[in-house]
Symmetry: C2
Subunit: 189 residues, 2 copies
DNA sequence: AATGTAGGCCAACATCCGTTGACAGTCCAG
DNA sequence: CTGGACTGTCAACGGATGTTGGCCTACATT
């Protein structure tokens, strides 16, 4: 896309987006009202409509994060588990609000669910195809991997179970890496 | 509680409850409107209020499921992983709508999240305390276990990722049992 | 048969939501 | 200096939602 000239309203745009990220992340799609977001951003609700078209357009803008999918070719088959856990933890810490919002909304909104499914189809499935023994098992193995990764995200960042939220990053890597390694590369039990 | 005499309205009550379970499970708390639930049950919205007091009261009634927590004393330390996976799969299959509703709502509604947290505190934590090597590590180990169990429930029953939803029950047990076994009993990595 | 009570429906209320359009100030190009 | 585009506010609309109270009917008890 072409570089757009800087506009006088850019500050307002980003203020809206920041407020929307927080509201969607903490309240979910339905409870995050445009009026509340506008109040947080200290502007009128109608501005949200002008700049993002609709509530759904605003939500789309919130979800527009760069996932920096790791290139499967660069993965070592021996360390794929650790690499994946580490990648996703970093990703989540850097885009906490946006990803929490996506997970929170996906659980209620079918469109969000499809989006999340697309992400994992594009992220984990290629990795599974590249490292797992039998290509036919790749979808199942990718699914198991997703279940553990999303389960960690759910309990740590959304539900905030105290013992899980309190875990140090290295501890999570140490515990989950062998799990993902087994799901992706161990022989079918 | 004392046995209440059967009432002429019992059929209506259960019809409302059944419709509510389905709606809450498939739409979440906000989108499951009392009007829609009443329409499914073929009665007037005001009846819901009469019998369950409010939308929240109705939701509470939906969540009132018997979890049949396994007695930690009867668990074999060697097979606790398999026992747990099997228990939760059965539980979820028998109360699919109610548990899906709880998970779906917990992600948006703080009260639901607390309820879910309470369940895992009462279900998994005692088990962890009983089987894990160092009692101090019990909360963290229980949390990791919860992350995998809830992650499976999320991807299989809520998001319905095709490869995960297609897995056979025995396959899930075979894949997850070693994971839980390690989270609960293996030495700290 | 008379009467009280519980079951059920209907219409309405108050509130909140996303969204729209008219209007006023501000900046910049000509 | 002037016109037009941009930024922002205000008030309102149409619709949906949870909830309430009044009213009619049917049953059970006396």
């Amino acid at each position: 896309m072409p570089d757009r000239p800087p506009r006088r309203s850019d500050a307002t745009r980003t203020a809206i987006l920041a407020a929307a990220r927080e509201r969607f992340a903490s309240d979910g799609y339905e409870r995050a009202t445009i009026r509340a977001i506008a109040k947080d951003a200290r502007i009128d609700p109608s501005m949200v409509m002008r700049y993002y078209g609709s509530k759904e357009g605003l939500f789309d803008a919130v979800l527009d994060v760069d996932l920096r999918i790791p290139n499967p070719r660069e993965l070592q088959r021996q360390t794929v588990g650790e690499t994946l856990v580490s990648h996703f933890l970093t990703l989540w810490e850097e885009n906490n609000d946006a990803l929490t919002a996506m997970l929170r909304v996906s659980v209620t909104n079918p469109a969000g669910a499809e989006r999340l499914q697309g992400i994992f189809r594009d992220q984990i499935l290629p990795v599974a195809r590249h490292v797992c023994p039998d290509p036919e098992q790749a979808p199942a193995r990718a699914g198991l991997t997703a279940s553990q990764v999303l389960g960690m995200a759910l309990t740590r960042y959304v539900l905030k179970f105290p013992p899980v939220a309190a875990l140090a990053r290295e501890e999570i890597v140490a515990w989950l890496a062998p799990t993902l390694q087994r799901y992706l590369t161990a022989p079918h039990p």
